[in-house]
Amino acid sequence: MTAGQKGASRRDAPSPISSLIWRVVALAVIDAFAITFGYALYSGGLTIAAAALALVTFAINVVFLVDRLYPLRWISPGIFLLVLMVVYPVLYTVYIAFTDYSGQHILSKQQVVDQLESRFYTPEGSASLQWRAYRSDSGDFLIWLTDPDGNRFLGDPASGITTVDPNDPRSGPLDPADNLPTTIDGYRKLTRAESVRYLTSLSGLLITGDIDGQPAQLHILSLDRAEIGLQRYTYDASRDVVVDHQAGTEYHPEGGFFVASDGSRAPAPGFVDFIGLDNFRRVLTDPRLSSAFLGVFTWTVVFAAGSVILCFALGLALALVFNDKRLPLNGVFRTLAIIPYTVPGFISALIWVGLLNPTFGPVNSFLRDTFGLNPQWFADGTLAKVAIFMINTWLGYPYMLIVTLGALQSIPSDLYEAAEIDGASAVQRFRRITFPLLLIAITPLLIGSFAFNFNNFTLIELVTQGGPSVPGSITPAGQTDILISYSYRLAFAAGKGNDYAFAATISIFIFAIIAAITLVNFRLSRRVENLI
């Protein structure tokens, strides 16, 4: 460490007042926003999000007010985005892989319980009630109910169902026609005609109450009839069961559903359940899945390694040609040769899909005219793989050409002079000098390219969409699917699933492989040790 570096580590003098005022004002604005927004989140029921926001805001305040944390002020925006968009999603992927999160299991257990608890039933033999509606000037309603025994209740969306007496002090004068008050507390009794007009809003009213300790709900059935329904399901947290009061059965949580002892399910969607290593076990031991996974995995490795080898072979051959300074128009040829690399990958892939179109494509019309062949590139698994290699070689060889050319030029020329004096032939010089030195220089780049192709979703998805499909397979893996496109298909392909958990499980395998590859590469290129 030089003197200059040591100087830079000196603790900084307290910041001037102007900077402090600046920061306090900025923080006040940020905090005001965070509080308003956080409150909106909290009242919207997103408590965890609100807590996370509060935590982040607090951290920002600390970092920008404590002078000792000055260096962190420069990093904090980046850290925030890294945590939100990289660290959290990666950890969440791991979590999902241990659950049964999918299109069928998408709600939390609490949400499913809430859905069940919002269902009501009418007990058998329960009486139907007569009702009349009252309306306030602001458009609120009250419902007056009379049961066959003459008991009266008042239903209020705000306060529930209560018994009521016609001589209640809030009531206005009685209407001689039906013996009901004409007004209650400023609410005016509606005529039958008015009730008809408001019937839709009236039957949409949510009036709940409590009958013998059981939650109940008022249903307006017709202009003359209403009923009080009882809550059908309640969740007993102490025993972790859902009780069905109508049928008298109990549902136990099992495999992400509430299931009765006879195997029937409660009428609600499944919930996300923690299932431990089941997904991993399925991938590796369920024969129908493991053979598909093994197939995809093998093809991923073959595809990535094959692409690197083909691109490197072609790139190296051309680099040897272009490395000759005496080649006329060297610069022009070189520029033309790297043009495929300058086209965005998705455009090249789509262009090749057109060129290889079996009916209209120029490749097939050429093959038809000259050899009488008409290969169906995307209908046959082997041909599709050949097509993918052809396309990826065209896409990838210029990168290899560029980096190999750079590496060739850095090999010291006195090595060749010495070899020539010793009488080495051109082939010997290539095999003993050029190739070994080249490999040392570009192995990290070859590995990087392998990792890139390992996840080359763009190419596979645009060229074959993983197809052709495997007949009779229970999982959406096609014959040219690589791990990442398989994972994508599990999670997002239309009509094939939304199996998020299984997709996340496949992602974990990719993570493990890519992390290992990258780690090896850091080692090889010694990029990391030198920099910390």
């Binding site: 570096q5 830079a8 580590s9 900077s19 926003f33 927004f37 909106a40 997103l46 999000a49 000055y70 420069w74 990093i75 980046g78 985005l81 939100l84 968009m85 990289v86 999603p89 969440y92 992927t93 999902i96 051959a317 051309l318 040609v321 272009f322 000759d324 080649l327 040829f333 033309l336 040769a337 790297i338 043009i339 495929p340 300058t342 086209v343 965005p344 998705f346 262009i351 899909v353 057109g354 060129l355 209209f360 494509g361 120029p362 210029p398 980096v403 780049l445 890139f452 979703f457 763009t458 994972s487 994508y488 998020y500 997709a503 992602s507 890519i514 990258t518 290129s525 920099l531 910390i532």
Partner: protein, 315 residues
């Protein structure tokens, strides 16, 4: 005398042999170079020709257009089912914003890691390495669910009593804002590293002396360091732009509405269904969509290659 003459004759013959062999080898090299150029260019020539060819076919028979027309380009800008101008605008907006923010955030972080010595610095640098082991595009499922949750959490606008309602940016699913946040997060780790390494090569004495002269850290950063690291800023900006422009996976998963598509997602619509009838328009779109990137690459070849050989692989 005779022996001498014979020996001279042999040397001459060998020289002729070497010269012929050299000539043959050069001939082979030229042939390879020409074949390489043809190989590289033929698919591109096909597309350019299809874009200009009124016949609108992919077939080899019409490689040289009977007459040149710009109809496909006009169609490209007036197709109600394929809002191509919207797509390319979206691509440029997303890539430009991502690139600018990535460069800004990385430069700030790199300055701090390079110039300050503080507790947690080593841990921070190691964390950056570990984060690079886990590219966030592999966490697509989690990112999808995260954007879904963010979209549900953020209201369209914030009503503050007394001030009025402030529209909030859309960051959920199917929004460019959410996609940009993902791209930025994914690009930060690697580029902070790259930039920190470059910052380390700028002599510490330069900003130290600015500090002695009374400059604040921010002034030293802004007026001393930034001008000196401009090359790496440009390289990272351009490579991030191109990488974002070329992304297909994240855009495919996060965007569901044709009017919010980026070019990579939108262009796939051309190859679905009646590809042959769309071929001319698709080709026109491919030419215009690829040109800016191709031009940038070819003009800045030398500068960009340095960045590429340090490990960035273009999509």
């Amino acid at each position: 005398m005779a022996t001498l003459r014979r020996s001279a004759e042999r040397t001459r013959r060998r020289q002729i042999g070497v010269r012929t062999r050299r000539r043959i080898s050069m001939g082979v090299k030229i042939l390879i170079a020409i074949l390489a150029a043809v190989y590289a260019l033929v698919p591109i020539i096909f597309v350019v020709s299809a874009a200009l060819n009124p016949l609108n076919t992919v077939s080899a028979a019409s490689l040289i257009p009977p007459r040149v027309t710009l109809d496909h380009f006009t169609q490209l800008f007036n197709d109600p089912f394929h809002p191509w101008p919207v797509w390319i605008m979206n691509s440029f907006t997303v890539s430009a914003i991502t690139s600018v923010i990535v460069v800004a955030l990385c430069a700030l972080a790199a300055y701090s890691f390079s110039r300050f010595r503080f507790r947690g610095r080593r841990l921070g640098l190691i964390s950056l390495v570990i984060i690079q082991l886990f590219p966030n595009l592999l966490a697509i499922v989690a990112l999808f669910l995260l954007l879904q949750a963010i979209g549900e959490a953020i209201p369209a606008s914030l009503d503050i009593p007394g001030i009025g309602s402030i529209p909030l940016p859309r960051l959920g699913l199917n929004s460019l804002g959410g996609l940009i946040l993902i791209y930025i997060g994914g690009a930060l780790g690697f580029n902070t590293w790259l930039m920190k390494a470059y910052f380390d090569t700028v002599p510490f004495d330069l900003d130290e002396s600015a500090r002695v002269d009374g400059a604040s850290h921010f002034q030293a950063f802004r007026y001393v360091i930034l001008p000196l690291v401009r090359p790496i800023l440009a390289v990272i900006a351009i490579l991030t732009f191109i990488g974002t422009y070329s992304d297909f996976l994240l855009a495919r998963v996060m965007l569901s509405d044709s009017s919010s598509y980026t070019l990579a997602v939108g262009m796939t619509l051309f190859i679905q269904g009646e590809f042959n009838r769309q071929w001319g328009v698709f080709a026109a779109g491919a030419v215009v969509g690829a040109l800016p990137i191709m031009a940038t690459f070819l003009v800045l070849q030398r500068q960009l290659i340095g960045g590429l050989s340090s490990g960035g692989v273009k999509g």
